[in-house]
């Protein structure tokens, strides 16, 4: 036996409740079931009431549609927040990778590589930004230069 029914997850597309988003389930004479997503306007262009719209509201009740709409809005808001958070964390991970590669590059600079000041090297490794890496890299370079000069002057005395 065929039937036609509106599924109970319909929701308002607009706050003015002028459009419904709903699914119509149909069964034909040989028992095949199909579902059709529909966006129904309350009235047509001439202002005539849409009978399908009225049927959905009648069969599901405005209260259930309001509830579905509120739940969907909340769910969508949560999903958007999660997506935003994910993107933020993703960007943070990429930034850390870039920073890690940048530090490795710094550690390959001869003066830094050969530096014996473990404390400064450690600070460079723990740096949280490229600016901080640069700062400690310069400090190490200056210290190395100073050491070289001292060695030089010590050698000529």
């Amino acid at each position: 036996m065929s039937y036609r029914k509106w599924m109970d997850n319909a929701f308002w597309e607009t706050p003015q409740k002028e459009m419904l988003n709903c699914i119509l389930e149909l069964e034909d004479d040989v028992g095949r079931v199909t579902r059709q997503v529909m966006k129904l306007k309350r009235t047509d262009e001439d202002g005539n009431e849409n009978p399908d719209f009225a049927e959905v509201v009648e069969s599901l009740g405005e209260e259930l549609i309001d509830q579905n709409t509120a739940e969907r809005t909340e769910r969508k808001k949560k999903e958007a927040e999660e997506e935003k958070q994910k993107e933020l964390e993703h960007a943070k991970a990429r930034k850390l990778e870039q920073l890690f590669n940048y530090k490795l590059e710094a550690f390959e600079v001869d003066e830094i590589k050969n530096c014996k000041n473990r404390q400064l090297k450690s600070k460079l490794r723990r740096a949280k930004s490229k600016v901080e890496v640069d700062m400690y890299a310069i400090m190490i370079m200056m210290e190395e230069k100073k050491r070289e000069e001292e060695e030089k002057s010590g050698g000529t005395e």
Partner: protein, 241 residues
């Protein structure tokens, strides 16, 4: 007598692995000055100035999975093996050996929500679908136990054989051949003699092997990250300078 405790790092095949290893060793020493670290690396990679970072430097072959050979040759009773593309960022690294408890060997776990950081996890077997459940990027083990020594040796041997096309079980995808995860899975799941091996998962295991990409995963460690793993975002063949 107190068991000896130390960290094993292995760099082979690519010069970048050596550079990562130096950085990793220095980062461990940043937080644990007296740490004993053994480096396995190829002779051509080694720079003498780095010797002072290590308790031992042992030259090894250039196999892509030479790490398993290094693990099997650990000079320490209690050994923490670490993939070299990691960095230490917490002083708890000195306490890692306490995690072993009465286990023989410990790994970090490979759960469904962490799957996406692994190239291949699920696979078909003649008995049905399977998936890797432990990750070999970090491994804490007790070399005083004969079963552990044998296991480490077998893991290396089996991996070498599978990658050299000397061994492969029927009914398994060829794509798995490249992974030491597969030989690990085989030994733990299919080799009867290792049914007695007491394997465990680190408590709050993400602390000890936190893939940087997991930043945006749902799972995060309860405590602070000790070892951050940069595996996913590194160009291992690229020039650092």
């Amino acid at each position: 007598m107190e068991p000896s405790k130390g960290y094993v790092l292995v760099a082979s095949n690519k010069i970048n692995f050596y550079r990562y290893a130096i950085n990793l060793a220095e980062s461990i020493l940043d937080y644990y000055e007296d740490a004993k670290i053994t480096l396995f690396c190829e002779e051509w990679m080694f720079e003498e100035q780095h010797r002072q970072l290590f308790d031992n430097v042992i030259f090894c072959g250039g196999h892509y999975r030479e790490k398993l050979n290094g693990m099997a040759q650990s000079p320490y009773d209690l050994t923490m093996y670490l993939d070299v593309d990691m960095e230490c960022e917490h002083e708890d690294i000195r306490h890692v050996f306490d995690e072993l408890g009465d286990h023989d060997v410990m790994f970090s776990s490979l759960t469904d929500d962490r799957s996406y950081v692994y190239a291949e996890r699920e696979f078909d077997t003649p008995e049905g679908k399977e998936k890797f459940t432990v990750c070999g990027a970090v491994c804490l083990y007790d070399m005083r136990k004969p079963i552990v020594r044998e296991f480490m040796k077998d893991w290396w041997e089996l991996t070498r054989k599978q990658m050299n096309y000397e061994w492969w079980p029927e009914g398994y995808s060829e794509s798995l051949r490249a992974w030491d995860q597969f030989s690990l899975w085989w030994l733990l799941e299919k080799e009867p003699k290792y049914s007695e091996l007491k394997q465990g998962i680190f408590e709050d295991d993400l602390r000890w092997n936190y893939y940087n990409a997991l930043n945006w995963a749902v799972t995060k460690p309860k405590g602070e990250v000790v070892m951050r793993h940069y595996s996913c975002g590194l160009d291992k063949d690229g020039c650092i300078v």
